[in-house]
């Protein structure tokens, strides 16, 4: 009987250890992507880090309830989107608590370009294009921005975006179409 109890305890301990290792590997593989999405959404490095931490904390607390019906990435992205929504909602209500917004301006955000452009002129043109896209993204609604970033930065398929956001594929297409029209206007209006 005692031997059986000890065996059970060992099995539980091993299962817990396996779960912890599994979660650690999930964190390691998906954390950069979650951070990137939150950074693009908020343009605030500190806020993106905080929300990423919150996202994985929440995921850790609910890890047992994750049944694997969707991919871990989809599940984590959904948590991240909800956290981001909560953050903006709280900030709108408690705007007086925030003395200043930490988001970098569009000019600064457009500085980040990989140095693969061949000439200085090409780099300048690329920078200008990126700034126009940032401007268009800033003018999008929260939902349009989320869908746009998931599609054109994270390169998720429409079906994955649908699972992540809970929207239908038709709605996602409409949001993307509007977002692209806005980008096109920005690019066209300043050429």
């Amino acid at each position: 009987m005692a031997a059986c109890t000890a065996l059970n305890a060992m099995t539980i301990a091993r299962a817990e250890e396996e779960t912890a290792q599994e979660f650690a590997s999930i964190v390691q593989s998906h954390r950069p992507q979650i951070f990137r999405f939150l950074l693009a959404s908020t343009r605030d490095v500190d806020l993106a880090e905080t929300l990423t931490q919150d996202c994985f904390l929440k995921a850790h607390r609910n890890w047992a309830s994750f049944r694997g019906e969707s991919s871990a990435m989809t599940w984590l992205m959904r948590i991240a989107i909800n956290l981001q929504k909560d953050h903006w909602r709280n900030r709108r209500i408690q705007f007086w608590r925030q003395t200043r917004a930490n988001a970098v301006d569009l000019d600064e955000a457009s500085d980040w370009l990989p140095s693969c452009e061949s000439s200085q002129e090409q780099r300048l043109l690329a920078r200008e294009r990126v700034e126009h896209v940032w401007r268009a993204v800033e003018g999008l609604s929260e939902r349009q921005r989320t869908v746009f970033l998931l599609r054109y930065v994270e390169e998720l398929e429409l079906a994955e975006i649908a699972k992540t956001t809970g929207l239908s594929e038709g709605t996602i297409k409409a949001h993307l179409s509007r977002a692209l029209a806005r980008v096109r206007t920005e690019l066209g209006g300043r050429r």
Binding site: F35, R129, V133, Y152, L187
Partner: protein
């Protein structure tokens, strides 16, 4: 079908189906976000330092606010005290002046009364003969005779 809904329907959502300008812009945007994210993700973390700085800033802010409040309050109190002192001095000056004026007025009244009494005294002594004057005249007449 409106113009907007027509445009929406015509806008393809796949990058490959977009025109080269849009493809280029979206590609550059993706590269920008990824480069920025990689740099921010791999930057050295300074959470503790930031927290210390923030608490230091908070403490400095509160101290400054307390100093400002204390300064304003003490300034106000000093100003009030100064004004009270000035008002008291002015009141004392006014009372002294009033007292001086009353004294001068009383002295003047006394002097005038004295002068009036003196003038009355003189006038009366000239017009009214002395009680013994007729007798004196009689004696003078008798002697001359």
């Amino acid at each position: 079908m409106t113009l907007n809904s027509k445009n929406r329907a015509e806008e393809p959502v796949d990058v490959e189906a977009l025109d080269p300008t849009m493809q280029q812009a979206l590609g550059d945007f993706k590269s920008c976000v990824r480069a920025w994210s990689d740099a921010a993700y791999n930057r050295p973390r300074a959470a503790r330092k930031a927290a210390v700085r923030k608490s230091w800033q908070l403490a400095a802010g509160w101290s400054l606010a307390a100093l400002l409040i204390a300064g304003t309050a003490s300034g106000g109190f000093y100003e009030h005290h100064q004004r009270a002192m000035a008002a008291q001095i002015a009141a004392e000056h006014a009372a002294e002046k009033q007292r001086q004026a009353a004294l001068e007025r009383a002295q003047k009244e006394a002097r005038e009364e004295e002068e009036m009494l003196a003038s009355v005294d003189t006038a009366v002594s000239r017009e009214v003969p002395a009680a013994m004057e007729p007798l004196a005249q009689l004696s003078e007449d008798a002697q001359s005779r």
